[in-house]
Amino acid sequence: MNGSGCGTPGIRMTGVSFRQSHFRLGPIDLEVPAGFVTAIVGPNSSGKSTTFRLLMDLMKPDEGSIEVLGCKIGGGKRVDLLRRIGYLPEEPYIYDNVLRAMDKAEFHRQWYPGWDVNRYRELLGLFEVDHSLRLDKMSKGMRRKFDLALTLSHHPELLLLDEPSSGLDPISWRAMIDLLHRYMESGDRTILIATHIVEEVKRLADYIVFMTSGKVLGMYEKDELLTGWHQFYFSGGLGEWRGELSEMPGLVALEDAGGVVRAVTSRARDAEAWLAARELSPAGRKAMELDDILAALVERQKRLRHQGTKGVMQ
């Protein structure tokens, strides 16, 4: 066993940056706790897949250091580490196209001493995958399910899943969610999953990492985030409310929404008490969905970049 005790992060990225001609990732500081499911959520080309490739040592960062399962990346013993990881890339490898699925599995298993043929069979059964088919003859969804089965068949300690559900039908999707929960049951395993499907995050994640334009906007405990972020509506114009509401706890955004003022807070309970103490009654309120929160965070990021560091909001 790896001997990692409680509190050891599954992944630790310190000051990691990576430059390409058209894209710059980082600097990223991130700790993914072991024993939990952490979802990376962000718009397209926010750097999620690049992050996975860096973690898998498929690309080298320009700066910073990366530790995965307690091992430094780029410091030898690469194969030993990779055997403890299950990585599902965003796109299937095109070089595999001409192989039958069973031949790919045959090749794949040679790299993994922990390969469990019964587990592999069980997963094929669960997903109803016919592994006698050639990979390029499979539908997108079936190929995804086959790759997912391969990813899990050597009992990895860490799963890196890059948009695992793309192409899955709703039934297979449910099966996948359930499978991943059961994978986590033992308590010492870790999942890092990139996704932009809100429902997937809701059902799976313990922690959420927001990413945009190559930067980490923040890491949150899911339930705290979803119960903390609310929006309040006040009838009237921004002019009459701006002064009054600017001190509202957790205020993230305050804007005119056509005849009503919309105030977004990341600390709903504090804001509630604060409003009550001032006898201010909102005309309405609403909890926010994950995508609304992401949008608000991206918006705030842009605003802060414009303003420099002055006018920092909580």
Partner: protein, 147 residues
């Protein structure tokens, strides 16, 4: 039985608190009997679509209150509830609700007499509105979707 726990995701009340209140009520009311095996933390989280962090907190709190016990390797079980404890727990929310109602009455300057009358009326109404004695099975209909 624990499956009946329902969360209001649109409330600002922390999820761990919502779950704790309901699970505690199920245990002290005896709806979850002593020795009942509770789902694992991960299973409960999956069912309620919340994080294991939340469920772990709930289990820790209820364990500290002596309402559940975790046996290493076997799981988490409902503990024996002391009868005195049970009646205290049972009445706690009622007492709180009564206080709440009295405070509401006093805010609009009800007299004691008025309050007593309101209480009697509410009680009578509740008794009268109770469905006539049925088959003894108290099953709530699941929400059915109609197109």
């Amino acid at each position: 039985m624990w499956m009946s726990i329902q969360l209001n995701e649109y409330s600002a009340e922390p999820l761990y608190h919502q779950i704790e209140v309901q699970l505690r009520a199920l245990i002290v009311s005896g709806q979850l009997k002593e020795g009942t095996l509770l789902p694992s933390i991960r299973e409960m989280a999956q069912h309620l679509k919340c994080s294991v962090i939340t469920i772990r907190r709930v289990y820790q709190d209820l364990e500290a209150e002596g309402l559940i016990v975790t046996r290493q390797g076997t799981g988490t079980f409902v503990a024996k509830v002391d009868p005195v404890e049970r009646s205290r727990h049972r009445l706690e929310p009622v007492i709180a609700a009564m206080r709440e109602a009295v405070a509401a009455g006093l805010r609009v300057r009800c007299s004691d007499e008025e309050l007593r009358e309101l209480f009697e009326n509410a009680l009578r109404e509740a008794r009268e509105n109770r469905s006539p004695r049925g088959d003894g099975v108290n099953r709530t209909a699941e929400g059915e979707n109609e197109g």
